[in-house]
């Protein structure tokens, strides 16, 4: 499967040693791989990336380490080698690989790399201009630095879970996508460090807190606290100024349309489409009145939406200039005509998982060959290519390492 343009990908020539696992780390290095970096994932049969075996919301996966569609969705374009890092010889090989690489990414708990003799200071001895990304739950400093977490706990600690959900229901911790946000922030930090290294010749050690990534994405909520002394609260789909602002049930089963009206022009457009005489009521005369009376307002809007399919509702509203979209589910999004017209989903053939539709990339480059080119690697698939081709080990040496369990 080819990328988007014809010129070399922007990160061509950048080599990344990928010691990340689970979701957050692997997605960050996957972004670098889509952008053209050569990403070499380091695992072993004694320490598998657990997305090869399980997931938070899916439980244990069937089949072996090469059967996981989840792993495939988070590790495309990468190479895989297997080193048992409990062995001195494996760690020596890792150092040799770092010496000929540009970036090392890892998301083990703070201190683990140091205990393996693979801390930033040690790796700098073999590669002084190394860019190293260390991602953890709450950062590598502070009293809780050794605490572990998953996506939902990051969102809980960060403040965003408490802001998500209906006021009369429990908060809603976000799930896996939080990890992918963390990975995206990690990729940005690596790119910034690579830019700097080009200018100064110097590397960097980046300490990234997964929880802080999420707090930064509700930044203005902290400004509200600072300005008013009040802690903001969750409000379902409602907005602090706009009304109507919500999701409305349509005729089809489990179909919803999101409608958000900001400003008089959009209000006039909504009135022209829905044309309910009740809109002339004094309760809806201005934006403040509409905001105060939005329960009544929403009821009128929903009376209209319930009488039509979500597509008919979106079409009529958009035609008049009212911001409205279908509320997508994980299933309906796969059939979205707009995304199909843009060829957003790609088909990826994996030797074990088979042919699967995968979600595309967050950007399209006009000129460079950026994108999803290859499925996630089988475990150890590139041992020969990396140990032989990059480190120059002979076939006999590699065989010996396999027999000794160093390559495992």
């Amino acid at each position: 499967m080819s990328g988007q343009g014809s010129r070399p990908a922007p990160l061509a020539g950048v080599r990344v040693v990928d010691m990340t696992w689970a979701w957050a780390g692997p997605h960050g290095t996957q972004l670098l791989a889509w952008l053209g970096a050569e990403v070499i994932k380091v695992e072993s049969h004694s320490r598998l990336d657990h997305s090869r075996m399980r997931s938070l919301m899916g439980g244990t996966l069937a089949g072996g380490p090469d059967h996981s569609p989840i792993f495939n969705d988070l590790n495309s374009n990468k190479l895989s080698i297997t080193l048992d890092l409990r062995r001195d010889e494996a760690r020596a090989l890792l150092r040799r690989l770092v010496a000929v690489s540009d970036v090392l990414a890892q998301n083990m708990r703070p201190g683990v790399m140091e205990r393996l003799g693979l801390g930033y200071d040690e790796l700098c001895r073999v590669k002084p201009e190394l860019v190293m990304l260390s991602q953890s739950a709450v950062g590598s400093t502070g009293p809780e630095r050794n605490y572990a977490g998953y996506a939902p706990t990051f969102s809980a600690l960060a403040g965003i879970a408490d802001l998500t959900g209906y006021p009369d229901e429990p908060p809603m911790p976000l799930s896996g996508s939080v990890d992918l946000r963390v990975g995206t922030a990690g990729a940005l930090a690596v790119l910034a460090a690579l830019y700097e290294r080009r200018r100064t010749g110097r590397g960097r050690h980046i300490d990234l807190s997964s929880t802080e990534v999420m707090s930064a994405m509700i930044g203005e909520a902290f400004l509200e606290l600072s300005m008013s002394g009040r802690s903001p609260q969750r409000a379902g789909n409602r907005h602090d100024v706009m009304a109507p602002h919500g999701c409305f049930a349509c005729a089809g089963p489990d179909e919803w349309v999101s409608i958000a009206v900001g400003g008089e022009r959009e209000w006039a457009a909504l009135v022209s489409v829905i044309a309910d005489p009740a809109f002339a009521d004094a309760r809806f005369a201005g934006p403040e009145e509409r905001w105060r009376n939005q329960d009544a307002l929403d009821a009128i809007v929903e009376r209209w939406t319930r009488a039509r399919s979500v597509d008919a509702a979106v079409d009529a509203l958009q035609l008049a200039g009212v911001p409205a979209t279908r509320v997508h589910s994980e299933e309906s999004v796969g059939l979205d005509p707009h995304l199909l017209a843009r060829d957003f989903f790609r088909e990826l053939e994996h030797p074990v998982v088979g042919k699967r539709r995968v979600v595309g990339t967050p950007w399209r480059f006009e000129s460079a060959d950026v994108g999803i080119r290859a499925p996630a690697p089988l475990i150890g698939q590139h041992n020969d290519a990396v140990l032989g081709g990059i480190l120059g080990l002979s076939e006999a040496e590699i065989e010996r390492l396999v027999a000794d369990g160093v390559v495992h």
Binding site: L35, G58, T184, I206, S215, E224, R326, E331, A368
Partner: protein
């Protein structure tokens, strides 16, 4: 600890931003906070729409006091320029000539309409990286859809860790956070932009990067979407062991996913008899007997505070996290020690507390500065940098160009 300005990762990178509200300004902010010289270009007199959105101190609207604007525009310089005028476009193209990247969030086709089409931009600067952020991209049937954040947010599914109460009326999925989808698009755009900048440095030629907010969001949900759009259909999620628990003083998230993490939970609960039953023997058994196990865990949580549950579980190696309010995050000792929150003074809005950046480069965190006033750097950039005399600046101001 502030290092010299030229010592920041993106020092020397000049970026122009034509952005409003959240997505494009967040993209610019991410680069600016890392040291790039981001010049924000606003419409004369009106400025970025975020200036008219709160929160405001005392709830009183003021274009220089919007918390949304102040947060999303830190570390930038600001000028005003009317791109609908020929003089404005002329100045803009001179800025383009010196910039490494341009970030815009104009509707598809709008820049071309006023003469700033790809060819004109490439003539001004063949090495320019031009990132365009739009709700649905530059092609396809929804290209011209009008949206606010809510619409963009719901144009992608979003998985949350919640198990609806039995028999509760079906409600629409609520949005996450405040403007999360817009932040997402901005973060993804920053990655694409920086990669393209590195590519342009390597090849000497520019690049156009298209970011559809919807696609940026979908990419983040790729795993869960992948499960639904490929056979076989996964069984419905019945809730996890642990998950969201109610403590004495609020909610706490507990995720004993792997076996050793479950064992940590068992120890934290004091190894009660019931945890030695067949129903608890492995992950599959526990999931099958979730209905019996979950109330037991909740019973344990009933008697404890969030902090007690959090620290006890973490001491046993089991991931957990209290649901913290924004105010609680602000005074959380972990972030205090990491100096995550910084106080930034502003001539109109005063000193306010901001979240800083989620990464430290060699232990250095925040090195940024406050958001610009509307047109604050007109003289500095148009005068000193482009060499417009002060009389000329006055004339441009009088005619509404700046």
């Amino acid at each position: 600890m502030t290092r010299p300005l030229q010592d920041r990762p993106l020092s020397g990178l000049c970026v122009l931003e034509l952005g409003q509200m959240v997505a494009a300004p967040y993209c610019g902010k991410l680069l600016a906070d890392l040291g790039a010289d981001v010049i924000k270009i606003e419409r004369p007199r009106v400025g970025d729409g975020a200036r008219r959105r709160g929160p405001f101190p005392g709830g009183v609207p003021h274009p220089e006091k919007s918390g949304l604007f102040l947060y999303l525009n830190t570390s930038k310089r600001g000028i005003t320029l009317d791109l609908e005028t020929e003089a404005g476009r002329g100045i803009f193209l001179r800025l383009v000539a010196d910039a490494a990247a341009l970030i815009d969030d104009w509707p598809p086709g709008e820049l071309a309409r006023i003469g700033l089409d790809p060819d004109a931009l490439a003539r001004a600067n063949p090495r320019l990286v031009h990132t365009s952020i739009t709700p649905f991209g530059a092609s396809g049937p929804h290209r011209d859809f009008r949206t606010h954040h809510l619409n963009v947010y719901h144009s992608s599914p979003h998985t949350t860790f919640s198990t609806p109460a039995e028999g509760a009326p079906r409600r629409a999925p609520p949005r996450a956070g405040r403007y999360l989808a817009e932040y997402d698009a901005g973060l993804s755009a920053a990655v694409g932009t920086m990669a393209a900048v590195l590519g342009a440095l390597a090849t000497g030629t520019g690049e156009r990067v298209e970011v559809s907010k919807q696609e940026a969001l979908l990419c983040l949900e790729r795993v869960d979407i992948g499960r639904q759009i490929n056979p076989p259909k996964p069984p419905p999620w019945t809730g996890s062991i642990g998950g969201l628990l109610r403590a004495k003083d609020g909610w706490v998230m507990v995720t004993p996913v792997q076996n050793h993490q479950w064992e940590g939970l068992v120890r934290a609960m004091g190894s009660p008899e019931w945890t030695r039953s067949e129903a608890c023997k492995d992950e599959a058994a526990r999931q099958a007997h979730r209905d019996e196990i979950q109330p037991r865990i909740q019973e344990w949580a009933d008697g404890l505070t969030r902090a007690e549950i959090y620290h006890r579980l973490q001491a046993e190696g089991t991931p957990a996290g209290p649901i913290q309010t924004v105010a609680e995050v602000r005074v959380w000792p972990q972030e205090r020690e990491r100096d995550f929150f910084v106080e930034i003074d502003h001539p109109e809005a005063g000193a306010q507390t901001y979240p800083s950046v989620p990464y430290r480069f060699d232990d250095v965190g925040w090195t940024g500065s406050r958001a610009p006033l509307l047109g604050e750097h007109n003289r500095e950039i148009l005068g000193e940098r482009l060499g417009h005399a002060s009389g000329e600046l006055a004339r441009l101001a009088a005619s509404g160009v700046i």
